[in-house]
Symmetry: D3
Subunit: 251 residues, 6 copies
């Protein structure tokens, strides 16, 4: 049976529920979805500093799922439910199951339905890190990044309407000025507004949660696993000290 | 219901059956697969000249499926079952359904399970066109292309063992000399040897047919459609003359 | 004797005459120019779909000229008189004579007279395919592409004045906003307006027809031929079926 | 007074002492050097997994130095004494003082004394992450990465001679086969072998510790500080939970 | 003792004094600074033509300093005090001492304190040559170039206030429209306005003179020398004729 | 009448005669060829140092030809007959006539007849400067550079046979190991061996002298001139001092 772990690397239970809901809505009948977040870390991920801490929380959560005898059986694949692809490279070292971040997944889907597209993200501080991801994934010549000027957490709560409006205006500018033919939602917390935005803009709107979950489900069904022959090899055995002692790589 | 058309753009019925078989083996229970090939064109696709003719056959076949009243109902998505991604850009103009080639799909899956990988293709004449595709898809820094030195059709028939062996040696060289951590099969006709090669090499082996079918199935389930706002807009209405008269774009 | 075949890959006899006229105007005294178009295909080329059909028409026309006993003797070189460089790679496989598209030729001339330049093309749908060509030819860092917002055929007929004006405004924007120092005409059908635009803008205006014809004439005089050692090798012998049966590669 | 904090992000006190020694050996008379390592984390950094944990230890150590009333006064600049530039982007968000990793510093110095150079690193698992850094720093066209096939900690202890020899052979191959004109030592732990290798190879050998310390010293003397106007802005205030609660960004 | 030669490759004694003053202001106590300019050449460097002549003047001046018995002893390192990095590659062939241009130095410092930055240069004619340098140094994805629309020599004399204002406006546009987080001064003659501009803009302002001098001082202290194993090898012995006879390479 | 000045920027009269001979052999009947070299400068160009001096000699020679009343009338276009494209950018500033270097011309012709090719150059010291040119011209993905290990002047004199053999072996390695489909001769002094090498290797061999002369002849016939709107604008008026006083830009 295909069993997908969707890990929101920040501490927002609201986010975790939202992405879990979306994931369950789109998987095939036989696929089981676990949605969880780390037991420690930042309330949200906005820039490099938050990312560093969230990565460790993510890896800790994965170690629990990978451990022998973990409840529920072996995980077929992991989705890191953050658009910064926080900790994905490290996560790929930790498991044979395929691991996918939202940005990589969304860029792949966008490139199939559009020759040029735009990521719209909440805060300006994320623009450069996302551009670096876009470059890493080889999509610089077809993707621009714009910020809507709102906080990530604004999409959950009383400011949600205002946040949606700011996002929509930013997306419209991408279509009008950057030649974008499709919009990529640059934050896991926007997963529930994709349909509305698609209807209002009249172009494809790609939600990274949906894209990553379907990709990981597909890879799990095909039995594709992470290569251990290179950069994603299991970490060499060694000791870790202090509060990280329990996270040392083991054989 | 999800309904995938897998179109082999060459005239080899053996290829068409092989890719259809593989596609049906991996789709979810509710997904219908149609496997077909054009009614005219080259016996196989080996280089730019064959590609030009195969593209037209592909588009003609798609027009039949897109036509109002086509038997079986609307197609959710198309797989162009050729590793050269023959005609994919033109095909995206012809339909709102998502269209996927094998190379693009396989590269995306490879990048998830390996930081560096190699395409192994039958003939040397395909190396440069494939490198151009790799560049188009932004993967030049992590993917090399090698040729096994056999003909595409050798994978069907009495030379199949020899062809497999040549391919395996080429793949081993990629692992040993190019730093590849995974192997991508550079031809639709190899779809049935992926499992054997994976077992013998001990690294992930990505088959483009499987990758593209699962991606298109996923996109169909999510309702993602090709943007008509840019390069993939429907072709402007005009007349076509001579043997192509029937293929003119219509409103 | 140098003998150049200028093939307009669309069915517009007006275009064919226009480019033939320009070609004959600029070749050296001893050079013979043949201007022709295919016997089947689209009325104009606007985007990927038209390109696919036009490529086959082009190749069919070339086969006639390459055949033993073709009237007029051996062709020294081919110009594909379309700014999308439609079918050029396939055409290079079909003959030893050098083959040149308008875009490649124009970009080379532009780079000699300007450090930064712009392509102005009729329709927005061509922008992305042209950008992909610009990237293929290694000129992305010095060339932008803008669309004038008119149809290709508007340059022939009662809308010609309006089309010229739209083009000129677009070119002026490239000079003012993009830092362009020269303008490349992004359509074969504009070959007759280069002089006027150059006079009015005061910067070099490059017409792809002229550039390609002179380049191919030069290569013919030097005896340079297409390498058959790699990607442009003659297509392997095989059968083609149906309406394409006559176009199968032969030894 | 210029005051440099050299932070070895792994837990090896031997490494910390070694890099501190080298730093003190090369700074100007008035410059104070603090060499320290985190209070928790991995014994060494070999790949993405170790990096994730080491980054947090680094940031925690920096917070202590940045705190009001930290012993010794304000830090003028930080060197992250790891060749993977672990956590450097996050560290730049945490302080106004300039922050420098060894890889970035060494590549800059190498480019001044050689047109092409090579990084020699201990383990193969580091090759791809380092290549990604080389690309991030824009040096892909002039720098290759090779692994010597030894463990990082082998450079401290009874295997040190063997490790040196393996490294030297790897460096010689870079000179002979890759066209390298200079060698970059791809690990902080090699800082004490630069002189010997330079003497034996006859080409410049760049040690990242020395390069980064001198760069940061220079920037401190010039009063250059990290821009807070973009990607390195201070992290927005928010709560962190669990074992990371104390590391939450504050105003 | 560290002994730095700062060579202004143009004939402006005012420039030479200005950069010498700045260099002496920032070096460590034991470092000696020589500031000089060639004995022949252009009054300022504005574009490729001036550069060609200034390069020869630079090399002639260096030959004097490199000669056995040159007054003052061996030079530890050279700064070419021009933002076009005029003649730097040739200069590296002429000496074992490290040689540094202002542009390369400033870009390296900028990348440490900002993820994206802008060069502001006096004249539009310098924009493209500087962009080519930015590309050569691998910084194209993070650096834009803007011209203030003033002459280089305007920064010395009665127009200095106007020149400063034009520069500041240009810098502000880079911050507002290009996403720059720091400003690089694109001309040696601006070395004395860095502090004022930094104070008024509130972001890091990088002066190439300071950056290059500190880098070369650091390299001199570390004993790093230019590799003679490749592109910077000493020029092969041969004769030079005419007015250049005295500049022929000797063994 | 078309009047081409072919300037060999080194002092070898033998080279000048050789390239003049080749140029006259290939131009159209009405085209006049002037072959000349500077009145001062290096005997040959091997690396950056020689280039700097040769550039000034080239510009001085051009000034003579550009001067009002220069014997023979206006020059239609210039060929800089050196494969390093020495001084071409500066030369483009000095005249409205188009200016072409051998490397740029040869790369353009090579890309028409081959998808991948190689430059074979005499000395190793030229490899990196040529690679930088290849990158500047956007051909890095399809062109490699190899050195034959001989001196440039060896192609004229008693060592000519040995030099030819070394070059041929180097070219064969490019075909066998680098996937080259055509060979570019990386030195003006090889212009007379192109035919022999082509016959012996069986692939296209491109001689830069022929390519540049035909390109400049073509541009002269078309009346294309260098844009003065950007990087190639005429140099601003100013004084030059000392031995360069006579070369100052004038209005």
């Amino acid at each position: 049976m295909t069993r997908i772990a969707v890990i929101n690397p920040n501490m927002s239970v609201g986010f975790t529920e939202k992405v879990g809901l979306q994931a369950r809505r789109i998987v095939a009948p036989g696929t089981e979805v676990m949605a969880l977040n780390p037991q420690f870390g930042p309330a949200s991920i906005e820039g490099y500093y938050d990312e560093a801490f969230a990565s460790v929380g993510l890896l800790a959560a994965m170690r629990g799922l990978e451990a022998d005898g973990a409840s529920g059986g072996k995980v077929s694949g992991y989705v890191v439910a953050c658009f910064d692809d926080t900790g994905v490279d490290a996560a790929r070292c930790l498991t044979k199951a395929p691991v996918m971040g939202l940005c990589e997944a969304a860029l792949r889907f966008a490139a199939i339905v559009a020759s040029r597209f735009a990521i719209v993200t909440p805060m300006a501080v994320s623009v450069r890190p996302l551009e670096h991801l876009v470059s890493k994934y080889g999509a610089s010549s077809q993707c621009v990044v714009r910020a809507a000027g709102v906080r990530t957490l604004d999409f959950e709560g009383e400011n949600a309407d205002m946040a949606y409006l700011a996002l929509k205006i930013s997306a419209e500018n991408c279509l009008a000025e950057d030649g974008a033919e499709a919009i990529v939602l640059g934050c896991a917390g926007m997963t529930d507004i994709a349909d509305r935005l698609r209807a209002e803009l009249g172009v494809p709107v790609i939600d990274g949660v949906s894209a990553a979950v379907k990709l990981i489900e597909a890879m799990g069904m095909l039995g594709l696993q992470t290569s251990k022959a290179g950069a994603y090899a299991s970490p060499p055995v060694k000791t870790y000290d202090g509060i990280f002692a329990a996270f040392a790589p083991v054989a």
